[in-house]
């Protein structure tokens, strides 16, 4: 593409017109309806979007107006975004599962004039919140079911809207001319979309992205993985999420590939299999679920099949990733892997709907290394990326051949990343958002005047230049000597060992790091049986000297790996103890989603924390516990404390000894 062309097609409506011109007959979007994949070509999509835009214009939508889009992934909802952009209006997608309360806040904050809803459920919610959103005066809907008897004064089905727009375009040359002018007037610097971030703390914030932001990011993403018009993606993640907006909307229009909307949220796996996606995106839990489902189904398979499955999975584990990465592999393994491809991996990938996949991404949270390697060993090019709404997704991604389970890759094209003194990751790119909608304070806190964005995550670059995210920046503490203390990072490293079920790290404002360990009863019990360790209770097993030896060996390995990582050397664990009881949500020690509540635990086991830092060899503990039937009891125990050696940090970095 020449520079002139690129500057001419600087908005999504202009790109859509280009697609209709240059690849008009190719499929643009599909939707499975009544059991059949219905397909629209680029020419048809353009016609539908233009008609809808004409209708919206007649309805009084003007440049700068905001339009809410509520529902799951449906072609007409994506077209509504496009129609709004054609008029210079701004689509505001809303999560389909947001409750009325959230929706009321968001719609009022965004001052939407009009809402496009998928079905009765969403229309009902919109009607409920309408009186709290004074600007909202019209609702369009996609599916008629259940809405027949509603008052239609301010309610209209989308197909009627499109039909009336088509009539207007046919009968009135003026309407088409006005629309063309409006599209031509759009510029790359115009606001393209407002995406509200769910915001774990406080109210959701509206991230304003311009056409340039989204378009350049999408284009760079396509270039990074060499995506073209032959790709197939399945659109099933929330339309209000930046990932879906980039992958299912922006990149489809930029590269000209086809987006497939599933029949219902429950049929995604089956629909993906029918389509055979070539470019896939999913949060880790989707991959986890697929794997679990497979393993459960295999349990029911006949014995020869199970044996074959186990054998070839072992082959894949040994050779699969090497072959995918193009590393040298023994001929025998290559032959076995080829056989396995025919017998196991091929059929399995077909089941997953990943047979044709060129590149698959996972992001959002850390994926378990085992799961990550499982998919890669089958020959699926699964990669990780690190992104944010504020960056139009891309911050870092893993290039082909440089895949690791524990990093999120290198900075993307045109993205600069640096690490602040407190460990926070900062980035700057063409995708960086304009501002938070109507929230200059939050914008000023997040984005510096020269365009750097505070990600809120702490991380570091490893020796190969790959970014590693360790924790939320606000959770990362400092030790007395100023070294970083990333609690979750330490805990995850410890929990990597099957014998350790939970870990709680301490060190903020202290001289050194220390940890509470919870043993995993299944794994350690199994080990005890094999090693003739006799025990009567969890408490007794936890206090066993051999168990302490085993845990000490794990901690030592963790320390060794910390020592060689940049800026992590100071966070080596110097003392630990094994808790005599399992951390439990009933006692308030874990959240209901099984995350440790560090502050609460530090308070509840204050005596033990003091002992960790007083140099004592053991400490007495008395805590009240809640049994499963609701009765209360008291656990009293003498808990031993172990010291661990620190490994020297190469390169003469700050070490604990130096600080002491």
């Amino acid at each position: 593409m020449t520079a002139e062309e690129a500057s001419r097609e600087d908005t999504f409506p202009k790109l859509l017109a280009r697609n209709a011109r240059t690849r008009g007959g190719r499929p643009a979007i599909r939707h499975k309806d009544l059991g059949i994949w219905q397909t629209w070509s680029w020419t048809e999509v353009e016609a539908q979007c233009r008609a809808l835009a004409v209708f919206l214009r007649e309805l009084g939508v003007r440049p700068g107006d905001t339009i809410a889009i509520v529902g799951h992934n449906r072609p007409r909802l994506y077209w509504s975004m496009m129609a709004a952009q054609m008029l210079g209006a701004v689509p505001v997608p809303v999560y389909a599962d947001s409750v009325a309360e959230e929706m009321a806040y968001l719609l009022a904050h965004a001052e939407v004039k009009l809402a496009v809803a998928q079905d009765q459920e969403q229309v009902d919610k919109l009607i409920t919140v309408a009186e709290r959103v004074p600007t909202l005066h019209r609702i369009l809907y996609d599916e008629e079911r259940g809405l027949r008897n509603y008052d239609h004064t301010n309610l209209k089905p989308l197909d009627e809207a499109i039909a009336s727009g088509l009539d207007a375009l046919r009968d009135d040359p003026e309407a088409a001319r006005a629309l063309d002018e409006s599209i031509a007037a759009g510029k790359g610097a115009d606001l393209a979309i407002i995406l509200y971030t769910s915001g774990t703390t406080g109210r959701p914030k509206g991230v304003m992205l311009t056409h340039d932001n989204v378009l350049i990011s999408a284009r760079n993403g396509c270039a990074f993985d060499k995506l073209d018009e032959t790709e197939e993606v399945i659109a099933y993640l929330p339309i209000a999420w930046v990932g879906d907006h980039i992958f299912s909307y922006a990149q489809s229009i930029v590269a000209g590939f086809c987006v497939n909307c599933p029949e219902s949220p429950d049929t995604v796996v089956e629909d993906r299999r029918e389509i055979g996606t070539t470019y896939a995106f999913a949060p880790p839990r989707v991959y986890e679920n697929l794997l679990t489902l497979t393993m459960v189904r295999m349990e029911d398979a006949s014995a020869p099949k199970r044996r074959m499955f186990a054998f070839f999975l072992a082959v894949a584990k040994r050779a699969g990733e090497r072959i995918l990465n193009g590393e040298p592999t023994p001929l025998k393994d290559r032959l076995l892997y080829a056989l396995g491809e025919a017998l196991v991996y091929g059929p399995l990938k077909n089941r997953f709907g990943l047979s044709r996949v060129k590149v698959a991404y996972t992001a959002g949270e850390a994926i378990g290394p085992e799961i990550f390697r499982f998919y890669r060993s089958l020959g699926i090019n699964l990669k990780q990326l690190y992104g944010q709404t504020e960056a139009s997704v891309y911050v870092t991604l893993q290039p082909d051949g440089e895949i690791r389970a524990d990093t999120v890759g290198r900075p993307g094209l045109e993205v600069e990343v640096k690490i602040a003194d407190d460990g926070e990751v900062l980035f700057r790119s063409p995708g960086v958002f304009k501002a938070y909608y109507k929230d200059p304070d939050a914008t000023a806190r997040t984005k510096t005047p020269d365009g750097w964005v505070h990600s809120g995550d702490a991380g570091f670059f490893d020796r190969d230049g790959h970014l590693k995210i360790i924790d939320r920046a606000k959770d990362v503490g400092r030790m007395k000597d100023g070294s970083l203390f990333p609690p979750k990072y330490l805990e995850n490293k410890l929990k990597f060992y099957p014998n350790i079920k939970e870990a709680v790290a301490f060190g903020d404002g202290r001289d050194f790091c220390a940890a509470f360990i919870n043993i995993d009863l299944t794994a350690v019990g199994n080990w005890a049986e094999r090693n003739n360790v006799v025990y009567a209770s969890y408490q007794e097993l936890a206090a066993h000297p051999l168990v302490y030896d085993m845990i000490a060996a794990h901690v030592d390995e963790v320390n060794r790996s910390l020592a060689v990582e940049p800026r992590m050397g100071g966070a080596q664990i110097r003392r630990f103890l094994v808790l005599p009881k399992e951390l439990d949500a009933d006692d308030g020690e874990l959240t209901r989603t099984q995350k440790v509540r560090r502050g609460f635990i530090a308070e509840r086991y204050g005596a033990l924390v003091d002992a960790l830092y007083s140099g004592a060899k053991e400490a007495d503990l008395r805590v009240e516990v809640t049994f499963e039937d609701g009765r209360k009891g008291v656990i009293a125990a003498r808990v031993g404390i172990r010291d661990c050696a620190a490994h020297p940090v190469p390169g003469g970095g700050e070490t604990l000894e130096a600080a002491e």
Binding site: D33, L34, G35, I36, R145, G146, R148, N149, E263, S264, D266, T267, E270
Partner: protein, 267 residues
């Protein structure tokens, strides 16, 4: 799917089916004694009563499975005393059963397709080879069935053998098969028995939607009083084979005889 009802001669509110003085006995056991009531077009009519009150027998009489010794049944203006279930079905009466009666080894799709059998017209010969008129017809039937699948939100289990489905979903498939007949009168025998609260809510919504969207007249037997009171327009109450009350849900709820029948009377 076809527009409401089918029988254009009847307007909503007209009597669709009337039962007059029906008595049914098996040998010496009197299951139903002199019961009369009617079902109006477009309404949801509940039949309630304690165990053994004759509710299911009543449904069996209506769809021609049992033949009453006395009394008359008038459906869409035609009076009859004896009728085979297949004829009742052809006339537009569909039903579901207390204990799910599906083809367990067949898929959801095939089970609902089975509900279209009565509407199939192409010669057996063509059906055998799935060619010519049979193919055209099958496509048309499949469209109706797909609309039902969409309506009941069971796309995800389209190809699953129904025997593998949880009970709540099997009930939904059974409703789908009854709907495939595009009936004028839909008889539901305890559609929510054995369901958990969420499944009951789903099923209630489907029943209301069927009634709203297609204008299908529904007669249902149900034990869950909350459901009955919420769903139905009129309720008829049976006890020991006799009718003891008939009217709007609120009226029936206050009726002393009904309260006694359900709570028992001190003797």
């Amino acid at each position: 799917m076809r527009a409401p009802g089918g029988d254009t001669r009847l307007a909503p509110g007209d009597v669709l089916l009337s039962v007059e003085g029906v008595s049914l006995s098996f040998g010496g056991v009197k299951a139903i004694t002199d019961v009369s009531f009617d079902i109006r077009k477009g309404e949801i009519r509940a039949i309630i009563g304690p165990n053994g009150a004759g509710k299911t027998s009543m449904l069996n009489v209506i769809n021609g499975f049992y033949h009453p010794q006395q009394g008359r049944i008038t459906f869409k203006g035609a009076t009859r005393q004896k009728m085979r279930p297949s004829v009742a079905a052809a006339q537009g009466i569909a039903r579901t059963f207390q204990n799910v009666a599906l083809f367990k080894g067949m898929s959801t799709l095939d089970n609902i397709m089975a509900g279209r059998t009565l509407k199939m017209r192409s010669p057996f010969f063509w059906q055998l080879f799935r060619h010519g008129p049979a193919l055209t017809e099958e496509i048309a039937h499949r469209k109706v069935v797909e609309e039902i699948i969409d309506f009941l939100e069971i796309q995800a289990i389209r190809k699953t053998p129904v025997g593998k489905l949880p009970y709540g979903l099997q009930k939904r498939v059974e409703l789908g098969r009854a709907l495939a007949m595009q009936p004028d009168l839909l008889l539901l025998d305890e559609p929510m028995a054995g369901m958990n609260l969420e499944e009951k809510e789903d099923m209630s919504r489907f029943i209301l939607d069927v009634n709203n969207q297609y204008g299908t007249t529904i007669a249902l037997i149900e034990h869950d009083m909350g459901v009955v009171m919420d769903l139905s327009d009129r309720v008829v109450v049976l006890e020991y084979g006799r009718k003891i009350a008939d009217g709007a849900p609120d009226e029936v709820k206050r009726n002393k005889q009904v309260i006694d029948a359900y709570l028992g009377v001190p003797h």
